[in-house]
């Protein structure tokens, strides 16, 4: 549906470098990355609001580079909604539909306002709407124009946690109902996990990795992706002999790896077994260490163990209580060689 090939765009010191993205029809595609990495710029390029230096943008095989935004059939919702302050809610929502000459727009308007539960707001001025209401009005305004592609620029970041969860579900429902190809830009990976069919990770103007949500979380392409997704246990070492990572300080970790000078790797906290006694198993890595940190989260406990390196294991509250862990408790850490993810 949307195919971006070798896109380059430079503004001042900032640059989008050789961006290649392919978004399928009706897909919910999330572009995830820290602030100031060119996410909004990319959306504006897709919408036709910015010209590019080099590259091609296709919508369903049609080259769009020179097509003006009003002819692209793309809807854009900005972070702070940009509702027109000199119009009522209803005038805002019907603005685009009137311009585009959408048939039957009165009925559509009523249905949309009902679906998004903003029917009561029709004649209100937008000045005294809440954040969530503004959000829905902005969405309705865009949906009224029946866009093929919906572009969402940090649509949830201005909302409080409670509203956010509701609107998040609503976004996914709207997407599913209208089967609209959606590109959603955010810096919040929880949003991405919740909503995305596929995720693209962007940093400093470059797309680092594109993939299904679980793929990206389980196999981050590099240390940036891993740390941005909140992964713990990121280390580096060198490999002198096949399948053995040598760490500074002498610790040796078994992994599936060919010899190389420097290697970055990650051990997912969920894959690390914590025990009070050494366990006999097929797992190649087993180390004795000491608990140096206990961090209680909502559903799990994050235990940091010093085995020469500080390694974090996630365990359940019931295990935590059974094991009666405290700081300085002597414990064993066990994980398989295949749990070591090499970048």
């Amino acid at each position: 549906m949307i195919n971006i090939k070798n896109l380059n765009k430079k503004i001042g010191n900032f640059e989008l470098k050789n961006v290649n993205i392919c978004v399928q029809k009706s897909e919910y595609f999330v572009i995830l990355g820290p602030s100031g990495t060119g996410k909004t710029m990319l959306l504006e390029i897709i919408a036709g609001l910015r010209k590019i230096n080099t590259g091609e943008i296709y919508f369903s095989k049609k080259l769009m580079n020179e097509i003006e935004p009003e002819h692209r059939n793309v809807g854009m919702v900005y972070q702070d909604y940009m509702l027109f302050p000199h119009m009522t809610v209803k005038e805002n929502i019907s603005f685009g539909a009137k311009l585009k000459g959408i048939k039957n727009h009165g009925n559509k308007l009523n249905k949309l306002m009902k679906d998004l539960s903003i029917g009561d707001l029709a004649h209100r001025s937008i000045k005294n709407l809440s954040g969530g209401e503004r959000q829905r009005v902005a969405l309705a305004r865009t949906l009224m124009t029946e866009p093929e592609i919906l572009l969402l620029d940090e649509p949830l970041s201005a909302l409080d946690t409670h509203t956010k969860a509701k609107v998040q579900d609503q976004l996914r429902n709207i997407h599913d109902e209208y089967e609209m190809t959606t590109i959603h830009v955010t810096h919040d990976f929880n949003e991405a996990i919740h909503l995305a069919d596929r995720i693209a990770i962007i940093n400093e103007g470059e797309i680092i990795q594109v993939g299904k949500t679980d793929e990206i979380f389980q196999k981050p392409k590099n240390a940036f992706v891993a740390s941005f997704l909140g992964s713990k246990n990121l280390f580096n070492g060198k490999v002198n002999y096949e399948n053995i990572i040598q760490m500074n300080g002498g610790l040796k970790i078994s992994a599936l790896v060919k010899p190389k000078q420097a290697v970055n790797f990650m051990i997912s906290s969920e894959n690390i077994i914590l025990s009070l006694e050494a366990i006999q198993s097929s797992a190649k890595n087993s180390f004795k260490g000491r608990v140096i940190g206990i961090n209680k989260k909502v559903s799990i406990v994050e235990v940091t163990v010093d085995i020469g390196i500080n390694i974090i294991s996630h365990i359940t509250y019931s295990s935590f209580n059974t094991m009666a862990l405290e700081e300085n408790t002597e414990v064993f850490i066990t994980f398989k060689a295949t749990s070591v993810h090499i970048f």
């Binding site: 940009m82 027109f84 685009g96």
Partner: protein
Amino acid sequence: MIITKGDHMKNNTFKLLILSISIILLLFLIVPILKMFTHSTWDIFYQSAQEKEVIDSIFLTLKASFVATLITIFLGIPLAYSLSRYKFPGKFIIESIINIPLIIPHTAAGIALLTVFGDQFIGGRFFSYLGISFTGNFAGIVIAMMFVSMPFLINESKEGFNKIDERYEKVARTLGASPFQSFFKIVLPMNKNHILSGALMMWARGISEFGAVLVLAYHPMTAPVLIYERFTSYGLKYSVPVAGIMIIITTIVFTLLKVIQKKDVIDD
């Protein structure tokens, strides 16, 4: 913190001092204006207000400044918009040039205009083909007023445009608006109050213009020129009523201005 009596005393002394100093300047402003109204008798005031020459000059002034403002709305809003939205080399120089009329003596502005629009110069000759002359007539008054007072309208409109996030226009474009539609349906209405208050400021400034108008068109006489002429020919007593009427009119304009500025949609 414990607030002692001493602290209260200090606070009060400060307040007293600040207010006293403020009052000095306010009196300097208000007393001459009030004095002017009491200087003349109501009789003369009333008589002046009925004189044809006075009434004509006041209407001429209001009308000329109004026309100057209308022309500047038409030509100045695109300029203000360009300055707000586009980046180009030498932009800050253009912004300074726009403010030149505010800082040069207005008689000098009149002379400068004369060198272009005077009957024997290029601009003047061009317009004389079209049957328009700029010296000693209404058109001359209009361009004199326009030249000296347009910075108010341009600057105020530009400020307004600056306050409007460009993304409003971008959203409008994705909703199907052409650049013209997004300008006329979104940006212009959103900037309505700034343009209106800029126009009122310009109008008021145009009404009070003396120097440039004097150079280009002593006749037909605008109110400020009439005040000057009455003062030099007949003395204080006869110039005061016309001056008083002008002050009343401009005060009304500025009160209107304040009301509009309070209602700014963009600021909310």
